[in-house]
Symmetry: C2
Subunit: 340 residues, 2 copies
């Protein structure tokens, strides 16, 4: 026990030293996990130009809106979106509560545990599972379920909690932008209620700055007359592709000056951002690091996983429109905070 | 010309003196347009309790969300909502562009200029007019039209621009809350796009803090390939009654700690706010000043104009639930900034 305690004390001490070292380094360089290169240079040049009073490209503080896709941009999305894992993990409890679903597809396949069969589920199957596991409960029940799941679930590769799969370079970028007066928003195809439960702790982004896909919620009263929200099985906002700029208008009402994505689902958001007048920054994360993370997206001949699709056409638009492509392999010194 | 210039210089000088005087007075009293009484006391007590560190009722800065209805709460709504006047004012141009509407109701009645007939328009007629005059154009066209109209239109009684009909005591309340770390939101049954065009200049409330009724907008491209938004004739969010807390959840994602309204349309918002745990403030503006503004709402035997209805049942709920009723007549020293 003593040995263990001594080891722990030493580990804590080492951890503190490392934290102090990281801070000291960060004072000189706000983006210590980024290698020098076009991506890092593009960010720093943009922020300096935007915040230099009197410069032609100065952006008033109120207009410093930066929007970030989440899955594949702020954290790992491969081999499966965290929210989809959450939905699948909820199926057993759902089937227990509604035994009539046990023999019905797609629940039967999920309950079988047959990975090969599950990989063949169609988009429609996934929507059915999502509706059944994300709605039909009160908002409080849903929030509690997500919070429990996030504290307990671990990803299949690194065995980390999902919020530990946030990309360290992007966390530094969020902090750097905020330190320079930018308001950072998540604009995700994922569920707004889902992401809001952990966005503040994970990314420093408060609930009112999380824009996402959203179902209808209805305001009602419990038996004691106390109001509550019910999550209804009906989609209100599909925050993907053109839905992203549409939701940005609905929820923010300003055109962002900087936007970050990684797939065709983010194309319209980057386009909308970049075609505004004045100084703009648009960046795309390219998953080209099969060793430290994953390599996918047909751009540059990487495999197409259909997740966070990054086809050649998107790459071409990025080049044509002056969007900066972030190579995870070349631009990121480290990917996760917990890397050795 | 010289006389004119001298007069202007004197006026500017006087204006500056008045501003300085107002500031000096405000340093002692953040709510100089409020008479001493239960309403003012309720506000000051709430803000002090919410912001005293270590007190049991302390509210962390991030949770200091205050929501305000607009029409009848922040500015005059009688005899007609400003946005409805805007819609009616647009009918002649609409009929010119689409001559086939000239002979059709309800446009025919509006074009007749017959006030008595117009007063009899049904809610359905008004919806038809609103859809025809608020949608079917790009967002940029709409914003420009509202801005032009606000700069030119004047109300029938005081001949003031509509944004000059903001209540001075409420402007002081907004500023007082913001000075104490509260984030002030408008949550209006009126159109979100409409209110966003002037909310910052009128109330100091930025677009991302305006929540309102919203139509579907679609993202498209012009002939040059530049993206734009189209306002479609389809309602997405009806931000009234239960729609208010629902939209608050959608757009803010936090329960307000303070809410302000004046009608049954605000009832659920106040209820949702007040039933949260910890310190809360809910207030209702009662239009009981027929001399300086208008007196209406059946509570306390005032006439029912159907605008901003304040029935006895709402008054009873306010008393029962500890909501504070603001009497315009007794609680407000002056109502408008330009009053002599």
């Amino acid at each position: 026990m003593r040995t263990n305690r001594t080891f722990r004390a030493a580990a804590v001490g080492l951890g503190m030293l490392l934290t102090v070292a990281a801070r000291a380094s960060a004072q000189g360089d706000p983006l210590p996990s980024w290698n020098d290169g076009a991506a890092k240079q593009g960010i720093v040049t943009f922020v300096q130009a935007a915040t230099t009073p009197g410069s032609a490209s100065f952006i008033p503080a109120a207009e410093r809106i930066a929007t970030f896709d989440q899955d594949g941009t702020l954290w790992v999305e491969h081999p499966m979106y965290a929210q989809l894992v959450f939905c699948l993990d909820r199926v057993p409890a759902l089937v227990k509560a509604k035994p009539e679903l046990a023999g019905k597809e797609p629940f039967k396949t999920v309950m079988s545990g047959d990975r090969a069969a599950m990989a063949k589920l169609t988009m429609k199957d996934i929507e059915t599972i999502a509706m059944a596991t994300l709605t039909g409960m009160t908002l409080d029940e849903f929030n509690a379920a997500v919070t429990r799941w996030m504290a307990q679930a671990r990803d299949p590769r690194w065995k980390k909690h999902y919020n530990e799969l946030a990309y360290q370079p992007m966390l530094e970028l969020l902090a750097y932008l905020r330190a320079n007066g930018f308001k950072t928003y998540i604009v995700t195809g994922g569920g707004q209620d889902f992401v809001r439960t952990y966005a503040e702790a994970t990314y420093g982004i408060p609930p009112e700055q999380v824009v996402g896909s959203a179902g209808v919620i209805t305001y009602g009263y419990d038996k004691a007359g106390k109001p509550f929200f019910m999550k209804e099985p009906k989609l209100l906002l599909n925050d993907d592709h053109a839905g992203k700029p549409e939701s940005i208008h609905l929820m923010i009402g300003r055109r962002p000056v900087a936007a970050f994505g990684n797939s065709t689902g983010d194309q319209q958001m980057l386009e909308y951002t970049k075609t505004g007048s004045g100084l703009r920054l648009a960046m795309l994360v390219l998953h080209d690091d099969g060793v430290r993370e994953y390599a996918y997206g047909p751009a540059q001949g990487l495999p197409d996983t259909k997740l966070g699709t990054f086809p050649q056409s998107l790459y071409d638009e990025a080049v044509k429109s002056g969007w900066i492509v972030i190579s995870m392999k070349n631009d990121w010194k480290r990917i996760f905070a917990w890397e050795p």
